[in-house]
């Protein structure tokens, strides 16, 4: 996983509450064999009309929003089905950070496995962030745990374990491999019957 200590980028605002994983990526796109390639299907039902044409007024389709890396949303982001594809489609589109009021547990766990930084901020702070336009930059400083926008700083909380994981770019496998000596010792002591 790529380490993240600080990230600066432009944001897309989708302030709705309860954006579920079916909206993030509908089930017909789960039959892929890869963790990548989901970007075209992200928010599919909101993004395209009946004939499959991009809806020009949807945030992801606006030319000025291309290259955005931060998504700002409402409460309970990523609720619904456990599909890890929801996270894969966000990272595949280029998002590095999602700021929301709260996240579903499974979505949060999946985001930690895939290097997507999920940050919870209270409604008052998000109200200010929601005014961000495509010409604004937002900075997320993970080391000091704040989001900075137009000179204002908003503190966020994060479990030290997840913080460490993101800052050092560790994934579950890296963490397990800290026990490599023990795994090797175990393997050396295993019974064999050959």
């Amino acid at each position: 996983m790529e380490p993240i200590t600080s990230h600066t980028g432009k944001a897309i605002v989708m302030p709705n509450n309860n954006i579920d994983t079916d909206q993030i990526i509908p089930k017909q796109f789960l039959k892929n064999i890869l963790k990548t390639g989901y970007a075209p299907h992200l928010f599919f039902d909101w993004r395209y009309d009946q004939s499959g044409k991009p809806k020009p007024d949807f945030a992801l389709n606006k030319p000025e929003n291309q290259g955005a890396t931060i998504l700002i949303s409402g409460e309970n982001f990523g609720c619904g089905s456990s599909r890890e594809h929801a996270v894969w489609s966000l990272t595949d589109w280029g998002f590095k950070v999602v700021i929301a009021g709260s996240f579903s547990d499974i979505f949060y766990m999946n985001s930690t496995k895939n290097g997507l930084l999920a940050i919870s901020l209270p409604a008052a702070d998000r109200k200010i962030l929601n005014t961000a336009t495509s010409t604004d930059q937002i900075t997320v400083n993970l080391v000091d745990q704040y989001v900075e926008f137009k000179g204002q700083r908003f503190h966020f909380d994060i479990d030290p374990m997840w913080k460490n994981k993101f800052i050092n770019g560790l994934d579950d496998i890296d963490i397990t491999m800290k026990y490599e000596d023990q795994i090797e010792a175990y393997e050396a002591a295993m019974p064999t019957f050959d």
Binding site: I33, L34, E84, T176, Y179, I183, F193, D194
Partner: protein
Amino acid sequence: MSKTMFEKIWDRHVITGQPGEPQLIYVDLHLVHEVTSPQAFQGLRMNHRKVRRPDRTFATMDHNVPTKDIFNVKDLISKKQIETLRQNAKDFGIRLAGMGEADQGIIHVIGPQLGLTQPGQTIVCGDSHTSTHGAFGSIAFGIGTSEVEHVFATQTIWQVEPKQMGIHVHGKLPDGVYAKDIIMAIIAKYGVKFGVGHAVEFYGDTIDAMSMEERMTLCNMVIEGGAKMGVVHPDQITFDYVAGRKYAPKDMAAAEDYWSQFQTDDPAAFDEVIDFDVSDLAPFITWGTNPGMAVPYDQAFPEPQDQNDAHAYEYVGIKPGMKPTEIPITWAFFGSCTNGRLSDLRIAASYLKNKHIAPGVHALVVPGSMAIREAAEKEGIAQIFRDAGCDWRMPGCSACLGMNPDKIPAGAHCASTSNRNFEGRQGAGSRTHLASPAMVAAAALNGHFVDIRKEASVWSR
């Protein structure tokens, strides 16, 4: 303090961590199939990782495999998953039983058949019916795709130790009643959630008298009762089954000596015990849309208890108070990791011998593996099926889940030896009635279920 067999195996595999918390467990055998592995392999590639122990990893294709013409995969996604596994196995140096090869078959059938599955092991696979392998006295359970990647890279997995449940199964099974009926009866009685959070050990004189194939049927389906896994203690029947197989230990004496230690000290070691007498058991049949919605052959379908039941009746198109004889069976499916083994086919064939299935019935016979198919050809069983008017196919998961072209049409009632009767499981709108291979054979012959106990003495169990 007394310990269960499960706890003894578990303790031997802990690398780090405290009881009650996630513990890092060593994985002895990792089984892989085409549907749940591609993203895991891609994850390895993206991070420049290798499979830590290719020698403890074994792959095959089963879910997507066409059973009519195995080399002609028409569905593009199926084709891609199959090709991807072939490439991944090659790139990562994993043993593969590829399309049409002698060792190919349903992953839970070939593990035991090749002697990969052994007592005292920890076994994982990205598939819930991995519980099947517990029949050998091993800890075997299904995992998700992220965990598959983790096992590839580390040969370990983080797990919290499950609680221990014992099911004491005793009594002599009546003629015409099988392991499948026992597990269906247990799920019907205790519900589809009774085992949640538990490893379930089956023990008692009924179990001791069972073949490995019967024990596998029990452990396979126990997850339909919510259990994480099922286990049976290893004994001489287990050792004899493993001995001489392709990947069996060479020094069997040493292996048996080691395996023999894995026995539950006494029932007090279980957190919970269920007592189950099989001496009066009747064959079971499901009427609804989960495996718990089942009745013994001689009972009418129950009054709906809730919205769920009412919906199930509507979907299946039958009514409370009806009897199993009144279900118009037009399809029969013999196969799956529950009942697609040679002994299952033998039982079905013994009933079909010199007879023909009812007009209007389509019967699919899908052996669990290439080796089973071969053996059935040699024994003449395959010919019995063909002569009876059945469609004798190549091995695979087939109509157990309908990911390949073998689908039961909408509205059709299918007597099936598989393990799940969920809505649409065997094809959109399909109506599944789970039963033992003997009951399914009888249903295919008659166009409806019949009481096989009356004729059961004519064939051997």
